[in-house]
């Protein structure tokens, strides 16, 4: 048999060879010392390159010094403005389920996009990226071929598990932050959001309507079926990821009013789920998160929003507190909202009279 070419070896090691080819490559490598050596070398290249790329990760943002960025700031405005459109829809995405079926007639990418993809494939000079190359990244590690394979595998596994563990808090917190940022951002977005709401949900999304709402993953204290309504489609439910209802509820300032459920959502977390319930507690939005104890909500997850957006969101948000406890059911619960911890304890007692 012909010797294995380098591309085939890498495809094999990457698990991308069809079964028949893989078996034939294995057979050959077992009997050909030259190819066995090439496979070993390829393993080294794969692991070492993975390590080298990892060294690029700890790059700080805003690496250009302040004095230079003041001279000519990066073109951020257009993008951040555009991002607000995403923000508005993300809020809706958390607060409401959007009924929409895919249109089979649009099942392929647009012509323009295909053309872009092709033109992108052409080799191009990479001068701009080379320019930024000298910006020093932090925390690199020297590549060592001997230990690289294991390290690379561990990193992959770690990364895979991290990506698999995206908790409900991510989306809800993101939505919450957006909601806050949304409040004092452009009027244009306010114009667009209600329109979308009108299309997608009969009542306002709590995150938008509430303003101060804090949708986070929470447990329903007294399980009750989330009112799915007409807007829920089987397609969305099949995702097994997000099942959300949104009911715009007028805030009540009546001192004796019971906390009312504004919305409830569930996000899969392994075999269990994280349930978020938003309450209107006499005019204040409070979120209740119920999760299996194995799920760590405090795990830092990068939101993806740039620091300026996050800082602004924090600055405009009312002071929030939270309390967390575990109960006999083996689940951990967190109450969070713009009230003191004492008030939150009071609310906890109110909500969990029957199920301590």
């Amino acid at each position: 048999m012909q010797h294995l070419d380098e591309g085939t070896i890498h495809a094999w090691l990457d698990g991308e060879l069809p079964l028949a080819e893989r078996e034939s490559a294995e057979l050959h490598a077992a009997s050909c010392a030259e190819c066995a050596a090439a496979v070993a070398e390829a393993r080294g290249f794969i692991a070492a390159s993975s390590r080298i790329l990892t060294a690029l990760d700890a790059v700080p943002g805003g690496v250009l010094p302040a004095s230079t960025t003041r001279v000519a700031p990066r073109p951020r405005a257009s993008m951040s403005h555009a991002w607000m459109a995403v923000a508005a829809v993300l809020v809706l995405g958390v607060g409401t389920v959007i009924a929409r079926r895919e249109r089979p007639d649009l099942a392929s990418p647009s012509v323009a996009e295909s053309r872009d993809a092709k033109s992108n494939a052409a080799p191009e000079p990479s001068a701009p990226f080379t320019d930024t190359a000298r910006v020093a990244a932090a925390a690199p590690t020297r590549a060592r071929r001997s230990d690289a394979p294991q390290m690379a595998n561990e990193e992959r596994q770690k990364r895979a598990s991290t990506e698999g563990k995206v908790s409900a808090k991510v989306s809800s917190d993101v939505a919450d932050r957006i909601a806050r940022t949304e409040k004092d951002e452009s009027v244009a977005r306010r114009d667009s959001a209600p329109t979308m709401l009108a299309e997608t949900a009969p009542a306002s999304s709590p995150a938008v309507a509430g303003g101060r709402s804090s949708p986070a993953a929470v447990a329903a204290p007294a399980p009750q079926a989330a009112p799915a309504g007409d807007t829920v489609t089987p397609r969305r439910l099949m995702l097994g990821q997000v099942v959300v209802t949104g009911q715009g509820v007028e805030s009540s300032n009546d001192a004796n009013a019971r906390p009312r459920v504004v919305s409830r959502s569930a996000v899969a977390a392994g075999t269990d789920s994280i349930v978020t319930t938003i309450y209107d507690v006499r005019g204040v939005r409070v979120s209740l998160i119920e999760r299996p104890q194995a799920v760590e909500l405090s795990q830092p997850v990068k939101s993806g929003f740039n620091d300026a957006v996050m800082a602004k969101a924090r600055a405009t948000a009312p002071a929030e507190h939270s309390i967390t406890w575990s109960d006999s059911t083996g689940r951990t619960r967190t109450l969070r909202g713009a009230m003191t911890e004492v008030e939150l304890e009071r609310l906890k007692a109110e909500l969990f009279v029957a199920t301590p």
Binding site: A42, F45, V63, S80, A82, D307
Partner: protein, 172 residues
């Protein structure tokens, strides 16, 4: 419209990491990722979400790079000047910074297509997705990655040796 919330949660982290590795600037990477999700809002359907997102992100980087290349070069010059004025950092961070700079230089020395294929593979994209995003045939992805990995490692080792030689000269 896609359920962008789900897309965001599924792909933002890897997209930002990919872009950060590619661009060397996390802020810029996040902006491009954000814009990519904005584009996803307007997209009716995607046959392969991950390949679509990476393709769009690649195009955005390319477009912005063209637009701003002159300004960026100017800023880089200013940055270089600024760096020369800044006091030497402590030794350990110096060493780390050197390693990172070598990694960056080695990555940038790759041909654009090789670099993108490698970075996308590191984010777990399979050969079909890489082929789609880069307009390659499926069969050539293995060859592209093999070349990219070999060159990256060789270039990095070359830079390491140069560095060690310089350190040796300085010591003697």
């Amino acid at each position: 419209m896609h359920d962008v919330d789900r897309l965001f949660r599924a792909y933002n982290e890897m997209l930002v990491r990919y872009l950060t590795r590619r661009l060397g600037d996390r802020d810029w990477a996040e902006e491009v990722a954000q814009e990519t999700f904005v584009r996803a809002l307007r997209q009716e359907t995607m046959t392969n979400e991950r390949a679509w997102l990476f393709t769009v992100a690649n195009n955005l980087v390319r477009d912005e790079a063209r637009k701003d290349s002159r300004r960026r070069k100017h800023l880089t010059l200013l940055f270089e000047e600024e760096r020369e004025r800044v006091a030497e950092p402590e030794e350990s961070s110096m060493e780390r910074a050197q390693d990172a700079a070598m990694a960056r230089a080695a990555v940038d020395a790759l041909a654009e297509r090789d670099r993108l294929a490698l970075l996308m593979r590191e984010e777990g994209l399979d050969y079909s997705e890489i082929a789609t995003a880069l307009g390659l045939s499926h069969g050539s992805v293995g060859t592209t990655l093999a070349r990219a990995r070999r060159r990256l490692v060789e270039q990095y080792e070359r830079l390491q040796q140069e560095q060690q030689r310089r350190e040796g000269n300085a010591a003697s």
